[in-house]
Amino acid sequence: MAFRCDIVTQERTVFNGEVKSVSLPGSEGRMGILPNHSPLLTTLGFGEVIVRDAAGGEQYFAIGGGFAEVQPDHLIVLADSAEQAEEIDIERAEQARARAEQAMKEGVAKEDPDKYAQIQASLLRAQVRLDVGRKHSGRQRREMATGFSQPRDEDRS
């Protein structure tokens, strides 16, 4: 028994395929989705999405907020940001977290609640990416150890 799962962001489709179960960071708590789940709309928090396919393989994604629709035969995650564990550049995530932490410490943001929330969100996002990236990507770690990490497109331009 399998169902279809799509993970999309505003910019692209990150994953789609037939899966056996999915575990999601719902805003009200973690939830596991199996086939024939009753229809549900939920907002999402920051965290890890674990997708198990029919062959028993697992894929991991770091997502940062958004919402999801569950149908008996279909799950669609509309995330604000989503990255597969292997795509995560740990070095960059580390830098992003350091930047957000710095901004938090400086405290300038506190006078502006919107800005504060924004920085808090980027700190959370960076933390989640780090956690998921560290946990699952041996490849990335080796690259870091040898110091040969490919620059990403956006860094180059």
Partner: protein, 301 residues
């Protein structure tokens, strides 16, 4: 008549220019293509988000309490127009067409209007024509990410929520294909999930089958109103993002056409000048021969 040397010089310089325009045309074609692919990639999210929006907005107790971003105000006092143009010229009539069209729209709508200019060309033209330009975004890169454009939607959403404006439009050039595009003005706020033809970037949700969507029963976590608070701003962000990408695809395609025309014109000019150069060369040879013949004749006499 110009000498052969002068003509030769002109031909060389025109050849150089046509090489530049030819290269720019090729670059613009591929950039237009990329922008178009990028906006196509938003379709999956847009369609689903729209479906969910539709369902949420038709839930009893949500539609009636009225989400502020979905409620049409009775009295429209001020409006805002987001005008998306390019930062650079060399794109034929792309920028001026967009501005002229927007001007017509503002005049027809006839309410005090704030212009939010995205792109330097539109900003400068609107200021010169005496419109009230309240904000300018001129640092949107090619192939932007959604984070590059969210400040725009944030600004208009804030202005809308605190009552500075009562209706928000987005004016951009809709990309049709590499050789055609058309300027349009669509409504951004309030969002009208039941009247999507008037929405910005509506072609990306037109494929959604909405029959039965509003009757679908879900359990909502946390609740339909809270979900709507999450979905609506994201949908607005996405519409602005799509509009910017459409405009970029149009700008690049307009530049492609303009540069293609320039290359063609250069080829034509080169042909004409080459003919003239040959004539000039021929006439100088003729006159030299005449000189020699004349000289020889004078000597033999």
């Amino acid at each position: 008549m110009a000498t052969e040397r002068e003509l030769k010089k002109r031909i060389t310089s025109i050849k150089n220019i046509s090489q530049v325009t030819n290269a720019l045309a090729a670059v613009s074609a591929s950039k237009a293509n990329r922008a178009q692919r990028q906006v196509e990639a938003t379709r999956a999210y847009a369609g689903k988000a729209f479906e969910i929006l539709h369902n949420l907005a038709s839930q009893p107790g949500v539609g009636s309490t009225g989400h502020p971003l979905l409620t049409v105000r009775e009295e429209i006092k001020n409006v805002a127009v987001i005008l998306i143009t390019g930062n650079r010229g060399l794109a034929g009539a792309y920028n001026s067409n967009m501005v002229t069209y927007t001007e017509k729209f503002i005049r027809a709508f006839n309410k005090p209007t704030q212009v939010i200019a995205v792109g330097r060309k539109g900003r400068d033209l609107m200021i010169r024509r005496g419109y009230n330009v309240v904000a300018s975004f001129d640092n949107i890169p090619d192939a932007p990410s959604i984070l590059n454009v969210t400040p725009i939607s944030q600004l208009v959403t804030d202005d809308y929520l605190n009552g500075k404006v009562d209706q928000v439009f987005v004016a951009y050039t809709d990309f049709i294909n590499l050789i055609s595009r058309r300027p349009i003005v669509k409504q951004l706020l309030p969002l009208k999930p039941f009247d999507y033809g008037k929405m910005a970037a509506s072609e990306y949700v037109a494929h959604v089958d909405l029959s039965g969507v509003s009757e679908r029963v879900y359990s909502y976590e946390p609740g339909p109103a809270d979900l709507l608070d999450v979905v609506v701003p994201r949908f607005t962000d996405l519409q602005v993002y799509q509009s910017v990408l459409e405009a970029q695809a149009s700008e690049h395609s307009a530049r492609y056409v303009a540069m293609n025309n320039a290359t063609d014109n250069a080829a034509e000019l080169i042909e004409i000048l080459t003919l003239e150069r040959n004539k000039a060369r021929q006439s100088s040879i003729t006159s030299e021969i005449l000189d020699i013949v004349g000289g020889a004749a004078a000597l033999s006499n």
